[in-house]
């Protein structure tokens, strides 16, 4: 690993040096219906196809818990509660990252999924907030990749195979 002189240090999401004001916002337009989008977010099989191979399991009742993990991979990815469940428009979840000791130490954050129909498409906004002041970028840095894969899946039925997209998937 090379070290960069301090004068050349670049602020970046990837290495965790980008400060956030406790909130990160991600927005994407997807040509699909709110119902299909909701299903892609809450169905474990579909979720794994764009979420680094990670499934999300829950009964999706308001106040219920959820757990994320990848089949065949022996680490928990995340867990939390479904604070608000209003299909197919709004899902608010508490989010405890579990994939490393470092992210575990970041404590509980919050993820809000908002689906709004726009013409023949949907605007999906993911707000990841209640982040600690010096949040590890690993906590929220994966969203662009996840949402890009979700768009590809719903619009083409195909998997996005860019490096890292399915890092926890089997095979």
């Amino acid at each position: 690993m090379t070290t960069t002189p301090a004068s050349q240090t670049v602020v970046s999401f990837a290495d965790g040096t980008a400060p956030v004001s406790g909130t990160a916002v991600f927005e994407i337009y997807i040509k699909t219906s709110p119902e299909k989008l909701w299903a892609a977010i809450t169905d474990p099989e579909q979720r794994a196809k764009y979420n680094f191979g990670v499934q999300v399991h829950s009964d999706w009742a308001p106040g219920s818990s959820y757990r994320s993990g990848a089949p065949g991979v022996d680490i928990d990815i995340a867990a939390g509660e479904n604070l608000v469940v209003e299909p197919p428009r709004l899902l608010v979840q508490s989010f405890n990252a579990l994939w490393s000791e470092d992210v575990k130490a970041q404590g509980t954050t919050r993820v809000t999924w908002e689906i709004e129909p726009v013409g023949d498409s949907c605007r999906l906004t993911v707000v990841h907030d209640q982040l600690p002041e010096t949040a590890n970028a690993e906590l929220y840095g994966g969203w662009p990749m996840i949402l890009s894969g979700l768009k590809t899946l719903l619009e083409t039925g195909e998997l996005l195979t860019t490096p890292g997209s399915l890092m926890y998937a089997e095979g």
């Binding site: 994407i28 337009y29 662009p144 949402l147």
Partner: protein
């Protein structure tokens, strides 16, 4: 596909301007800023900054959220990721990786 292409044009157009890139950098350094805060980051009138923010919003690179009476501007990195997935990963990743390695090696020696 059509929506994708239109979106990509807007993103490239939005990025083809120094002031707009400066505004994105300002949001990258500190996300969730008001118009007044952003005004102080670029040498431009309030109206000019508003105009540039509108272009960035239309391209999806900036998303606004209301917090109380304030309108906060957030950098939305998703459109850049879409361009990456469509273009960079397909054509440039092996080259980019090789060049990054070369850069690291040269800087080490």
């Amino acid at each position: 596909m059509v929506t994708y292409l239109r979106g990509v044009d807007l993103v490239f157009k939005a990025l083809a301007d120094q002031t707009r890139r400066d505004l994105l950098d300002a949001l990258f350094t500190e996300d969730g800023q008001t118009l007044s805060a952003l005004e102080g980051r670029v040498p431009m009138t309030r109206f000019g900054v508003m105009k540039h923010l509108k272009v960035l919003e239309e391209a999806g690179l900036v998303v606004t959220r209301k917090r109380g009476r304030e309108k906060l501007h957030f950098l939305n990195p998703v459109p850049i990721r879409l361009i990456h997935d469509r273009w960079v990963s397909k054509y440039a990743e092996p080259w980019a990786a090789a060049l990054t390695d070369l850069k690291a090696q040269l800087e080490e020696s």
